[in-house]
Amino acid sequence: MNSTHTDDDIARVLQEELANVTLSDRSRRLVCEQTARAWRSEQRLLRGLGIAAVAAGAVIVLNLAVLFTPAATRTQRHHLVTESPAALLQHRMEQTGSRRSM
């Protein structure tokens, strides 16, 4: 085996041999297009996630608001919302009566 050929010789021959192998303009364009498409869809996804996060945040805030509202207020509201119109009228009359007696 001839050992006079150095690594530099091997590198030079191989590099010369491959000098005409290049990445075509078409390939470069295709990569740019694909990355641009991927970037746009990623941005859309992020926007969607952002909206979902805001909505989830709003739900959490509402839940916290309910949680920290005093229990008496909640019961009163519960009465106002769930009871029948007649019961509601009765309730209001009682309230008015109690105010008058004061």
Binding site: M1, N2, S3, H5, D7, D9, I10, A11, V13, L14, Q15, E17, L18, N20, V21, T22, L23, S24, S27, R28, L30, V31, C32, Q34, T35, A36, A38, W39
Partner: protein
């Protein structure tokens, strides 16, 4: 290779492609021994790099990271398909289409090139990978180890085996 601009991944990939596009394709070509496939896989490499850019660890060199993707893409391809034997004449025609040299010089050169190609083509894919990274891309042995994910000693022994084959081939050319 320039530092990565985190805000503009597309521009980063464009920059890497302009700096390394040709070399990445050459590396993949040496590993796969298929011109057409090397073009497709080079594209795939850059698209993968774009998708994985957020995983890039700034402690390693961008170049090393990019070539690791290229080598893995080529390896995966070889696992999927059988290596295709490209007729040497077809490759020679593609590689030397310009007519700068006179016919005799070109014939001699193509003969030498064919000899080198034949030698590289006969190497196992793991030796071709080391040859591509060390001789074609100019990476150091430790970087080749990092890119291929094999121990330094293994890289050295593979390089030594490949070197022996290539020296024999070059000697044959010199003798002729």
């Amino acid at each position: 290779m320039s530092a990565m601009n985190e805000n503009e991944p597309q521009q980063t990939i464009r920059l890497w492609m302009s700096e390394h596009g040709d070399m990445v394709r050459r590396t993949i070509y040496v590993i796969t021994q298929d011109l057409e496939t090397s073009e497709d896989l080079a594209q795939e490499t850059f698209v993968k790099a774009f998708r994985k850019l957020h995983q890039f660890n700034a402690r390693s060199r961008p170049q090393t990271w990019l070539y690791r993707i290229a080598v893995n893409t080529a390896r995966n391809h070889l696992r999927r398909v059988r290596p295709k034997n490209v007729p040497l004449d077809a490759v020679a025609h593609t590689l030397h289409s310009d007519d700068r040299w006179c016919a005799v010089q070109r014939l001699e050169r193509e003969h030498d090139a064919a000899e080198i190609r034949r030698t590289v083509a006969t190497l196992p894919s793991e030796l071709r990978t080391v040859v591509a990274l060390y001789y074609v891309d100019g990476f150091g042995v430790s970087e080749v180890a990092e890119i291929t994910g094999v121990p330094l000693g293994t890289v050295k022994s593979r390089l030594s085996r490949a070197r022996d084959h290539l020296r024999v081939s070059l000697s044959r050319i010199t003798r002729n």
